[in-house]
Symmetry: C2
Subunit: 447 residues, 2 copies
């Protein structure tokens, strides 16, 4: 460990250096040219959903709010930022966000151009939050969006998140949280269990079976199974594919009897193997012994097992890497300066300027039909045959997190409810149209 | 913030809960059945390179060694692990790794089955390190492996890492480090600069230009450019594509004159646009003004710009997400118990058991020809016409990090040297054969 590490910001709980250098140099230039105190609105949104998915899931909101309140510069950080003017460093030394944040509730669905989060305040106080806000929302939403599709594919069967080893060690903790919000049932990650109260879960590794060799170094799978049951009870899950699955199931039944909780299969064609193992278990009378499968499962593989006797899934790599979309592609754009709508006009990236709110419109049956994006504070004419829900809620007021933030269980519940309002085609796993259209109401046409 | 968060392990600097539950329950069962103290060897390796790449890059080693020394259980963690026996929790309360770690130097190339890291000790002390070791090596190596291909494609032109916003906020810091090891020249990430001494870098965002509206809300790009130059000097990089690139370059030249450091283009067909902008700059006499490009660049896009007048690249999303391979697919497998080689025998995943070391063989010209994997401690017959280098070096001895660990600059240098020994086809960006074959020498054939 070097000195720099000892002085890292992490130890002091500061999030202020999870930031790109250009935010600080822009701030410095703005302080010098007098634009730093201009009233601004920044907006977080995505221009499209990755991989032609039908919906995205907002995740990370609570972590963003926490990061904003911890956005305080330490002495080491200020010393490192020696490329800034003394005025700028003094500004940073006293920095605390005092503006307003509004946005979608965590767990909500989002669509292209949904104004997921809106940050209002001076240019100075808003611009330097860009990176940390996007880091959290992009990574957590990517994981939750993938996880939600898997939950939908699993059709009520439980999924354990076990992907920690496939992603950065801290990203693993946040990912476990994101998958739980999206409807996963448990996580293997102990820190996520401690920090967020997510139920921990686990089975055993192949190393457990391999550890049990006799004096000649010959494998003894039954010894491994016996020891696991002795420690964890009959309701445990035995991993049966270290050597030969059929023999492994035989050994499991011999050791545990028909009251064994579950077996896990981590290799092979899981459809074929699960059917064969089910027959084997049933033939032995182990009708209640569950079959848990893992091994490179994603939403498509899970859906492919819908007709097979699988009682639960362990999902790792694919969910923590967003199943082909490891980042949500959300951006943080300046949309309003001193009351004037502003927007970048490079071709292909035209966006509506101005602060925004959103409503979601539903049929009386409860099925969502459109995302209505409108200018902040505008009164939108509502159609009498539709029902509307305000998507945009206050999150931070004058720098303080608004009271009554939802618990992780409430977020999870909200997500399940929201997913239940999608039209059927919105749940399709295939590439295709977004589940509901985004409509802009009350904006001038862009030039 | 809830109580669980306040008590999170992060605040105490412990890495012990970046761990899967099953490691703890296996430990508990092993303590009860008397196998916990068996001498074991675990090995980190990858069965294949993702996306048919030609080589991988080992990254994260220093972070792993640091994580092992910080693997100490806190009171909160032990209280959370209430599913464990009192003996097991007492073991954890006193835990410190006292074994041996050997492995590839950080920055080295690796190939399928290269024994990147070998952990020796009791089953108890080794098994619980699995997740944190893999999390770090899988994520850092994925990023470094992608980054190295980009550096190779850039052919000497500098690359700035600017992907923090596209990945978890802590993964962003580790990713910046991994890209620097692989040859990137700078990072936008301030924490990475503070923690690891990586040169920070940055330009300006579109929000900077958009901030500069006049009283009527009309854009004033020149005001933005003037303020940036006033603050950062003429050598700064002006972002010229907020409205219209040709007009943006005109405005930049009008404000800065021909001594402007650089312009950045973040949209459009970068080949066409860079050629047009180069002509525009040259026609104005700004021969030394550099052109920096960004906008969804990956190794293929960078290579595609080889003939274009691009002086530097800003790379974000693709590198921090491993450019299509967000995890390296490394595994941590038990290979030896009490001197007996062990291996899982599920089909398709056959591996050689036993502790291993590796040599890399080179022609006298310095070009690598093979990865030689052999049993740990075995004396391998060397061919007289080849030169050999020991790939496996001691990293931890009796729980202590071996002295003289390389600095990040030394790691970066080592990587550049190693990449220089690849045969030409090993640098190809296309899918194909691994650059050099892995040969197993001195092992019995697997059954």
């Amino acid at each position: 460990m070097n000195d720099a590490q000892r002085h890292s910001s992490e130890a002091e709980g500061s999030t202020a250096f999870l930031t790109d250098m250009y935010e600080l140099t822009m701030l410095d230039a703005a302080i010098k040219d007098g634009t730093a105190e201009r009233d601004c609105i920044f907006e977080v949104f995505g221009r499209r959903l990755p991989n032609e998915r039908r919906y995205g899931v907002v995740a990370g909101t609570e972590r963003v709010l926490d990061a904003i309140t911890k956005f305080r510069f330490t002495e080491d950080q200020l010393a490192t930022a020696d490329f800034l003017s003394p005025q700028c460093r003094e500004y940073l030394a006293n920095y605390r966000f005092s503006g307003q944040v509004d946005g979608y509730r965590e767990g909500e669905l989002y669509f292209p151009y949904s104004p997921i989060m809106t940050v209002r305040g001076t240019f100075a106080e808003c611009v330097i939050l860009e990176t940390v806000i996007l880091s959290i929302l992009n990574s957590d939403s990517a994981v939750a969006s993938a996880a939600s599709r898997m939950v939908s594919a699993a059709d009520g069967r439980p999924i354990i998140e076990m992907g920690s080893r496939r992603t950065n060690e801290q990203a693993a903790v946040a990912s476990a949280r994101a998958t739980y919000i999206a409807g996963f049932n448990a996580t293997s990650n102990m820190e996520a269990s401690l920090r967020y109260g997510i139920p921990p879960s686990g089975t055993a590794a192949h190393s457990w079976t391999l550890l049990h060799v006799d004096d000649q170094g010959q494998p003894d799978e039954k010894a491994a199974f016996k020891a696991q049951i002795a420690s964890l009870g009959l309701d445990t899950t035995l991993l049966v594919d270290t050597f030969d699955i059929t023999k492994g199931v035989d050994n499991a039944l011999e050791v545990a009897g028909t009251e064994l909780g579950a077996v896990r299969i981590d290799s092979g064609d899981l459809g074929i193997v699960s059917r064969r193992v089910r027959k084997q278990l049933d033939a032995a009378g182990a009708f209640n012994t569950r079959i848990i499968v893992s091994s490179d499962l994603d939403e498509f593989a899970i859906a492919g097992l819908r007709g097979d006797p699988v009682d639960g899934f362990g999902v790792g790599t694919s969910v923590v890497t967003g199943s082909g979309a490891p980042t949500a592609g959300l951006v943080y754009k300046l949309v309003e300066v001193e009351g004037h709508a502003v927007a970048k006009r490079s071709s292909g990236k035209v966006t509506y300027g101005g602060g925004k709110s959103a409503l979601r419109a539903y049929r009386s049956s409860g099925v969502a039909v459109a995302e209505i994006v409108h200018p902040l504070g505008a009164d939108i004419r509502r159609k009498p045959n539709l029902e509307y829900r305000e998507m945009t809620v206050p999150l931070i007021r004058d720098g303080e997190i608004v009271d009554n933030q939802p618990s992780i269980e409430e977020i999870r519940e909200l997500h399940a409810t929201a997913r239940g309002t999608l039209p059927w085609e919105g749940l399709a796993l295939s590439r295709g149209e977004v589940a509901i259209p985004t409509k802009f109401i009350g904006f001038p046409e862009p030039e």
